[in-house]
């Protein structure tokens, strides 16, 4: 009897999410799955084409390769830098120093700008041929480039933008650091452990659930990055597809070129790719993530 009461409690707490999942999420996802096997131009009835969309993604789409390459480059460079930056600063800004609230706010402000329309102009002021970044390089005697408009470098300016807006990841780390019980530190200090040792022996293990969360979420979000590339490239993904992140290409296909069936197929391919990476992370987590609740 007690068992069923527990089940009931579980479902009751899950109820809001369950309603949303069944009513608002599940059927659109089902619809997009169906559409991925059709030719759907948004305005007329979808036509069933079987696996055609998936086939032409691999054989007949001259932008696809570029898009996948750029996306992988973006994900594997921006994720580690963003996480390292955020963790480093979170640890630094979690010390008992003066003005910490002020510093945290300063480092968070870039993230407040988010996907603002002003970003495209601001980023140009920094990374344009005449931008301040090149002025800085000139002081060091280095000849700069047009970082945003040159296909060799445009993706790096996008990665830079993503690292610049590391604030949200930092906040989650800070929240995680706050959850580490103070008495553990006290006990360790009494035992004579130094700051470095305390960090590696106490902070890091207790922080692993949050590191795991940030890693997973940042990975998923990076694969899906859209707004940044859209704003910086003015919706084109150019020059020469150098900022054509997968989600941007998917959007262009679906809404600009009105091939929503194809875009849906692309979305499902992305889902599979992301699920593989996330699955690997979850599999690995049992070896390095430490939960205080002792459950797996």
């Amino acid at each position: 009897m007690q068992k069923y009461k527990t089940y009931l409690a579980g479902y009751l707490f899950l109820l809001p999410w369950l309603i949303g999942f069944l009513c608002l999420t599940l059927s659109p996802i089902g619809a997009s799955f169906y559409l991925s096997f059709t030719n759907y131009d948004l305005l007329t009835t979808p036509k069933w084409v079987g696996l055609d969309n998936f086939r032409s993604m691999f054989t007949d789409d001259y932008r696809m390769i570029d898009s996948i390459k750029v996306t992988l480059q973006y994900v594997f460079l921006s994720v580690p830098f963003r996480l390292a930056f955020a963790l480093g600063l979170a640890v630094l800004l979690n010390q008992g120093m003066k003005f910490l609230g002020f510093y945290r706010t300063i480092y968070y402000i870039p993230s407040l700008l988010g996907g603002s329309v002003a970003i495209s102009v601001l980023w140009k002021q920094v990374f344009d041929q005449n931008g301040i970044f090149n002025d800085g390089l000139a002081l060091l005697g280095i000849q700069g480039h047009n970082w945003i408009a040159d296909p060799r470098f445009a993706i790096y300016s996008l990665i830079g933008l993503s690292v610049w807006q590391f604030g949200s990841v930092m906040i989650i780390f800070l929240a995680g650091l706050k959850q580490v019980p103070g008495e553990l530190y006290e006990a360790a200090t009494v035992d004579g452990a130094g700051a470095v040792r305390r960090f590696w022996r106490i902070t890091m293990p207790l922080l692993t659930p949050v590191i795991f969360f940030n890693l997973t979420i940042t990975l998923i979000q990076s694969f899906q990055t859209f707004t940044k590339a859209f704003i910086i490239s003015k919706g084109t993904g150019g020059p020469i597809n150098s900022t054509l992140l997968y989600s941007l290409y998917l959007y262009i296909k679906g809404f600009t070129f009105m091939e929503m069936g194809y875009a849906s197929a692309m979305a499902w391919l992305l889902l599979v790719i992301i699920a593989i990476f996330t699955g690997l992370l979850f599999f690995s987590s049992r070896y390095w993530v430490y939960y205080s609740d002792g459950r797996d």
Binding site: I19, L22, C23, L26, S27, P28, G30, A31, Y34, D41, L42, L43, T44, T45, P46, Y62, K124, D128, Q129, H145, N146, I148, A149, D150, P151, K234, G235, T236, G238, P239, I240, N241, I252, F255, T256, F257, M258
Partner: protein
């Protein structure tokens, strides 16, 4: 045809409502009845404003501050003249406009009145727009219009849109740079060789950081005009392309040569300062002399600079001028499933023929198509307006009498041309290899348009 559309909506709806919670009161007639449009449910009888019944319409357009202001004033005027009619404006900048419209059409919830651009045909093909033919003559009066403009929105003998403003492709130039270089502004009879000479000469005299020309090789209007000047066509009524690889090679090579000579803006500068918007173009900033643009932009851009801006036609070639006759810049169209087609038609006529509305709207969407409105506006035209009127008349006189057909999937052609230009401009591909890819992809686009 409305049937097909409703079927599309019902199909999707069905897929979605498979879920248990889909609460739907009236899914029997999904396309035609929308709870969001708060009109009376007996709308099938299509009540007119005269009967005193309340009519609520929605109208969508994109544009800038100025156009929002003027269009709302015109709507208010219409409402005061037609008691019982309210028109809710839905306006925005161009970003996201088409996305939202497509979503609304897919759900059967589009505004009654829709401002459309050059891609009107795609929406006609997909039965999203109302056939206005039954109202022509009785409600919508077009006698005063240039027939070419009426033809441009007529498909299979049916009219689907009414031009709001006449526009034309052009070369926009900054006169101050010509003066500075000591080169005279070319006249209307010039050739592509003249353009090349002027560009090289000017760039030498203007010095570093200034250029004679934007790279126009990615501009589909410029390319169409070039093909016309050499006796070819981009596209025609038969749904085929009418140019060969050789023509495209010549075109892209022409610009590659100018680029090598330092006469056009380098690829990275062009990407960073695209000529498409007033706040990014270097013509307004006085660093580049010539770009491609549409004539109606002249007045707005002139406000941003002390230099005098002007309009030039594209050069001629062995086959004469390849200029495309003045086109409709924007259309006002009606949604196929509107419940009040007659009031909608009345408003369409009001926008283009009412003298008061004409003065309020002014040139905010290009030169008004109706002669009497144009005359009224000409009387109070500023010198910049006058320059635009003169230019459009000149194009109308010069353009060869061909039936111009817009390339069907224009957005994709634009993206493709941009990619080709960039591949050549950034030395990622040779002209020949880039054009090979270009031709393959153009043929795919044509195949796609045929399949639709």
């Amino acid at each position: 045809m409305i049937k097909t559309k409703s079927a599309a909506v019902s199909m999707l709806t069905l897929a979605i409502l498979l879920s248990a919670c889909g609460n739907n009161n009236n899914n029997s007639n999904a396309g035609a009845s929308s709870p969001a449009a708060p009109a009376s449910s007996q709308a099938a009888a299509s009540p007119s404003a005269a009967s005193g019944e309340k009519v609520e319409l929605r109208m969508a357009w994109w544009g800038s501050d100025e156009r929002h202001e003027k269009t709302q004033k015109a709507i208010e005027l219409f409402e005061s003249k037609n008691p019982g009619v309210t028109i809710t404006p839905e306006y925005s900048g161009f970003d996201g406009y088409m996305d939202k419209l497509n979503t609304q059409i897919a759900a059967g919830n589009a505004p009654d009145l829709i401002q459309m651009g050059g891609n009107i045909k795609e929406y006609v093909d997909k039965n999203a727009l109302l056939d206005l033919t039954p109202y022509v003559g009785s409600t919508i009066k077009l006698d005063d219009f240039n027939q070419g403009l009426v033809q441009s929105a007529t498909f299979d003998g049916k009219l689907y849109g009414v031009t709001l403003g006449v526009n034309s492709t052009s070369l926009m130039y900054n006169k101050a740079l010509f003066d500075k270089a000591g080169v005279p502004v070319p006249g209307k009879d010039w050739t592509y060789d003249d353009l090349k000479n002027v560009a090289i000469q000017m760039s030498e005299k203007l010095g570093k950081g200034n250029y004679a020309l934007y790279d126009l090789s990615s501009d589909s209007g410029a390319f169409a005009s070039y093909l016309g000047a050499y006796g070819k066509k981009l596209y025609d009524t038969d749904g085929e392309r009418h140019f060969e690889k050789e023509d495209a090679v010549n075109w892209f090579k022409y610009w590659a040569d100018l680029r090598a000579a330092g006469a056009v803006v380098p690829a990275d500068v062009q990407v960073a300062n695209p000529p498409t918007a007033a706040d990014t173009t270097l013509v307004v900033k006085g660093q580049v002399a010539i770009q491609a643009g549409s004539a109606s932009q002249l007045a707005g851009w002139q406000q941003l600079t002390q230099d005098t801006l002007g309009l030039l036609m594209f050069p001629s070639g062995p086959a004469g001028s390849g200029m495309v006759p003045p086109l409709s810049g924007q259309y006002i169209t009606a949604y196929a499933d509107t419940k009040h087609p007659e009031v909608v038609a009345k408003f369409i006529d009001f926008m283009v023929n009412d003298p008061e509305a004409g003065v309020i709207l002014g040139n905010s969407r290009g030169v008004p198509p109706a002669g009497k409105i144009r005359d009224a506006l000409a009387a109070q035209a500023t010198p910049v307006d006058q320059a635009m009127y003169d230019y459009i008349s000149l194009v109308a006189d010069t353009a060869p009498p061909v039936n111009y057909v817009q390339f069907p999937v224009d957005n994709e052609l634009l993206a493709l041309m941009k990619l080709t230009t960039e591949k050549i401009g950034f030395n990622a591909k040779s002209v020949d290899a880039a054009v090979d890819e270009f031709m393959t992809e153009v043929d795919k686009l044509i195949a796609k348009s045929k399949a639709q």
